[in-house]
């Protein structure tokens, strides 16, 4: 896999586009009835931070969950760092190793300590030695400011701390791209900024990121591009200045009026 990784990196570096995610006309139906994604296309370049916004039920979660095959899709194509994610692909672990995901509800493993949470996948999936994984986990926990809690269990931490651990856990796999699905929506207001700060630092370090979030401040400062979804389609996209300053579509204006009060 490592050999493949370096090959992949070289191959895509030659490509002037240097895209990490290429989604084309993705369509999905829930239980053959509900057309949740109606042909969504998005290209995310290396180092780019894309924020996805849109009303509840517009398909934001569903869309970004197709990038690591948590959701199957029926039509279109998705390519992650040069690996094709075909609709019926069975061995999707190769793609999942390269895509980190942070969930709204953290989803930390409650029976493992913070340190063990971060070490688990590198050992089980990448086949790292425990010592190596422990060292990397320690570095990551330090980066997200939780190293002093390494031996606690998730249940003993605050929501903000848990979410930072979840970010460290995803980073431990050394992903090419990180997906965030409303990472601060389940948090008490006073804990939102500590998580956003970690995400901002991560963005500055050059990580490719796709974030579903309604944190306007974060979107303005950190996003290279904002994508607005409604009813299973991308209605509008642009830089934060364009998006917040000069929205074109009525749906976007309506939405912005709501979230900007």
């Amino acid at each position: 896999m490592t050999q493949f990784d370096s090959m992949g990196a070289i191959a895509t570096a030659d490509d002037s586009k240097d895209a990490v995610i290429v989604a084309q006309d993705v369509e999905k139906w829930y239980s053959n009835k509900f057309h949740v994604l109606q042909g969504v296309s998005l290209t995310v370049h290396r180092g780019e931070v894309v924020v996805v916004m849109g009303p509840s039920g517009s398909g934001k979660s569903t869309f970004i969950r197709t990038f690591n095959a948590l959701e199957p899709y029926q039509k279109g194509s998705i390519e992650i760092d040069g690996i094709k994610l075909t609709p019926n692909m069975k061995n999707v672990e190769a793609v999942r190793r390269e895509v980190g995901m942070v969930f709204q509800q953290f989803n930390l493993f409650p029976h493992l300590t913070v340190l063990q949470n971060v070490m688990l996948a590198p050992v089980e999936v990448r086949g790292w030695k425990k010592e190596q994984a422990k060292q990397v986990a320690g570095e990551l926990l330090e980066r997200v400011g939780i190293l002093n809690q390494a031996n606690k269990f998730p249940g003993q931490l605050s929501g903000g701390q848990q979410q930072r651990v979840a970010i460290a856990r995803a980073l431990a796999m050394q992903p090419k791209v990180m997906l965030f699905d409303e990472p601060t929506s389940a948090l008490d207001p006073e804990m939102v900024s500590e998580v956003l700060d970690v995400m901002r630092t991560l963005a500055q370090s050059g990580m490719t990121m796709v974030c579903v979030t309604h944190e306007v401040g974060f979107a303005r400062q950190v996003a290279d591009r904002i994508v607005f979804m409604a009813d299973g389609l991308i209605v509008e996209e642009g830089t934060p200045q364009e998006f917040f300053g000069n929205p074109k579509h009525d749906r976007t204006k309506q939405f912005l009026a709501q979230i900007l009060h």
Binding site: R96, E124, V125, G155
Partner: protein
Amino acid sequence: MTGFLFAQSATDQFTLDVIVRNLLLATRWTIALSAIAFIGGGAVGFLIMLFRISPNKILRYISAAYVEFFQGTPLILQLFLTFFGLSVLFNLNLSPWAAAAIALTTYTSAFLGDIWRGSVQAVPQGQWEAGTALGMTYFKQLKRVILPQAVRMSIPPTVGFAVQVIKGTSLASVIGFVELTRSASAISNVTFKPFLLFSIAAVIYFCLCFPLSVLSKQLEKRFATDG
């Protein structure tokens, strides 16, 4: 008259001492049968649990039907069906011991499989998703993420079910397997003291089951407060 004389002498022979010793010897078979049912049933039950939660529809249906059959019919009929049915179907001369072991194993497997399925499904879906997103395979997720959490939840009901298995072994007496109940019945036939015999047997069953019940309740309380 001779029968009466025989019974008379049998009563003399079977002092309380002797009765208790005989019943305790028979209790060994109750324990052995329970242990076999529990170990065998646990192994088969684990497979049943895997099938019940499998992404494969056919495996799910087969295992669901298996569980429904053994939960939906009386154990005593399962014992008869195993003892007489297997003998006829496969032309075997199945001993009561083997038939009881098979019937109690399948019975136990259905219940344990269902208890464990419930525990696995009580682990939030987000735990599977987190494992999947980290690139772990299905079985790695099961082993490292799901089962460690499910096991905690399943220990109290599993220990509680052990009580049902121990009591269930008494039914094996109907196909001629000599365990505690059968032995008490046999001795009472010659001593004419059924009340005494079955009382002692009840006390022995109680001594086997009560500690397990208490343990199960305590574990349940502990896991409930630990969160």
